[in-house]
């Protein structure tokens, strides 16, 4: 467990020292402030439009962080040869992959927290008191679960793909499945990101998601995370380093 947390902490330091996170945060702040300064359709119309823009941006930007960080972790360690002294230590390949996964997931959640907070803060400052806090919290929680699935899938692809190819494929899959849906047979086996997207509920200030549905989605996410992580490990165990 010590090895897993140590490796995960390394990924966290990467987030703090790299410029990616700050650049995206600055871009998001600019876009959110710009969106908040536009006025049309009355106060109700504005809030709907602003929620749509704010949530969409925080979703997309956190997925970008997850895909870019997740895709480069393992290839970067192999290319720089730092994987050898790590795995020569009492660290199993399972611990290495798990540490990288949790590190990237935490990094994605932290980024999303920052991006989502900017949106919620500006929404609150603009006088929105109608959107239930539990609904905003549910939106946050469900997207964190989705980031777990995306991270695990990205780590899996990184066993075979370069960082650039991996990021592009993950982004394409995210947008295509979330926006256009899936057809048979992918519909059966592939995870459904749209299940974790309750943006419409937040925009139209609908009822909160019932507990049983939240519990189901948690199990659903854990199932896919486990599948992708186990597949990553199966490939990584056989990988000639």
């Amino acid at each position: 467990m010590n090895a897993v947390t140590t490796i995960a902490k390394g990924v966290l330091k990467e987030l703090i020292r790299r410029k990616d996170f700050y650049l995206i945060l600055a871009l998001l702040v600019c876009l959110v402030l710009f969106a908040s300064s536009v006025s049309f359709g009355g106060e109700k119309g504005f809030q709907r439009y602003f929620k749509e823009v704010g949530i969409t941006l925080s979703y997309i930007f956190s997925v970008i962080i997850s895909a870019t960080f997740g895709s480069r972790q393992v290839p970067q360690e192999i290319e720089s040869k730092t994987i050898y002294p790590i795995l020569a230590r009492p660290v199993s390949r399972f611990e290495f992959i798990t540490g990288k996964f949790f590190g990237v997931w935490i990094v994605s959640i932290l980024s999303f927290t920052a991006y989502y907070s900017v949106f919620v803060l500006v929404l609150w400052l603009r006088g929105d008191r109608m959107t239930p806090v539990p609904l905003i919290a549910e939106g946050y929680y469900l997207h964190c679960l989705l980031l777990g699935i995306i991270t695990a899938f990205t780590v899996f692809l990184s066993m075979a793909l370069s960082a650039a190819a991996n990021s592009v494929i993950v982004m394409i899959l995210y947008f295509s499945t979330n926006w256009f849906g899936l057809t048979f047979p992918a519909y059966i086996v592939w995870p459904h990101p749209e299940l974790f997207d309750i943006k419409e509920k937040i925009i139209h200030t609908q009822d909160i998601v019932p507990f049983w549905a939240m519990a189901f989605l948690t199990v659903y996410a854990v199932f896919y995370i486990s599948i992708f992580l186990m597949s990553s490990l199966a490939v990584f165990k056989k990988k000639i380093l």
């Binding site: 990467e14 720089s80 002294p85 790590i86 380093l241």
Partner: protein
């Protein structure tokens, strides 16, 4: 087996499969390392030195032969905690400082939390990077990266140190200092296995050498036997005489 035997390799063979073709990367390699020895693994490019090291460290699988560390066939976590490995030219993350990198290696090596800071300080002083302990690695020269590479390998005070081309990237002064550190470790009873192209360095510091070519051991023995017993004037002459053109 002698209790002082740190590493025993017996009839080790590694076969690569590339499509239809199979290539024997290591062919019946056998030798032993004893406590307090420095053994130089010498050979031309593609001889199998790095393959042997990767096999010993469990990065490559082998079907034939035996490998025993400290008298045990199982390459357990306890065994791995006693081994330090320095790969050939590793580029450590530019966004970390040497102190942070060594802290990470200390933790994954199973060192006690309270002993890590002191060991980091001592190790950085040994490799002369203490002044730069809080600088980001991105500001480091190639030689400094190599010293950091050595630092991570010796941090947890391993019984056996495996080094792949430890002198590459070092200037002459850096080499002299690295040689001093490595022979100092030998004097403390540590065992070292190092692969190198630098025959002069090997001649100066190794107790024994293992010359391999095309995956086979061509010579294994004490340096003194070559220079005195076989009447060679230098290790380089002997190396060339048995390797030929290396093809």
């Amino acid at each position: 087996m002698d209790i002082k035997t740190v590493l025993r390799i017996k009839d080790l063979s590694v076969i690569y499969t590339d499509g239809q073709k199979t290539k024997k990367a290591l062919d019946n390699i056998s030798f032993e390392l004893h406590k307090g020895e420095i053994i130089g693994l010498l050979g031309p490019n593609g001889a199998g030195k790095t393959t042997l090291i990767k096999t010993l460290l469990g990065f490559l699988e082998f079907k034939d032969g035996e490998v025993e560390f400290f008298g045990q066939k199982k390459y357990s976590k306890n065994i791995r905690a006693k081994i330090g490995f320095m790969p050939e030219i590793a580029n450590y993350p530019w966004f970390l400082t040497p102190a942070e990198i060594l802290d990470m290696f200390g933790r994954i090596s199973g060192m006690r939390k309270n002993e890590i800071p002191e060991r980091i300080e001592n190790t950085l002083k040994t490799v002369e990077l203490y002044e730069q302990r809080n600088d980001l690695v991105k500001s480091f020269s190639k030689g400094m990266q190599e010293r950091l590479n050595l630092a991570q390998a010796i941090l947890h005070d391993p019984e056996l140190l495996i080094l792949d081309e430890p002198f590459s990237g070092l200037d002459p002064i850096g080499r002299i200092k690295a040689r001093g550190i490595l022979t100092g470790l030998r004097d403390k009873g540590k065992t070292l296995l190092l692969s190198s192209h630098e025959l002069s360095e090997a001649e100066l510091m190794c107790d024994k050498i293992c010359i391999i070519s095309r995956g086979k051991v061509l010579h294994f023995g004490a340096i003194g036997d070559i220079l005195h017993g076989k009447g060679e004037t230098s290790l380089e002459n002997y190396f060339i005489s048995i390797i030929g053109d290396g093809k």
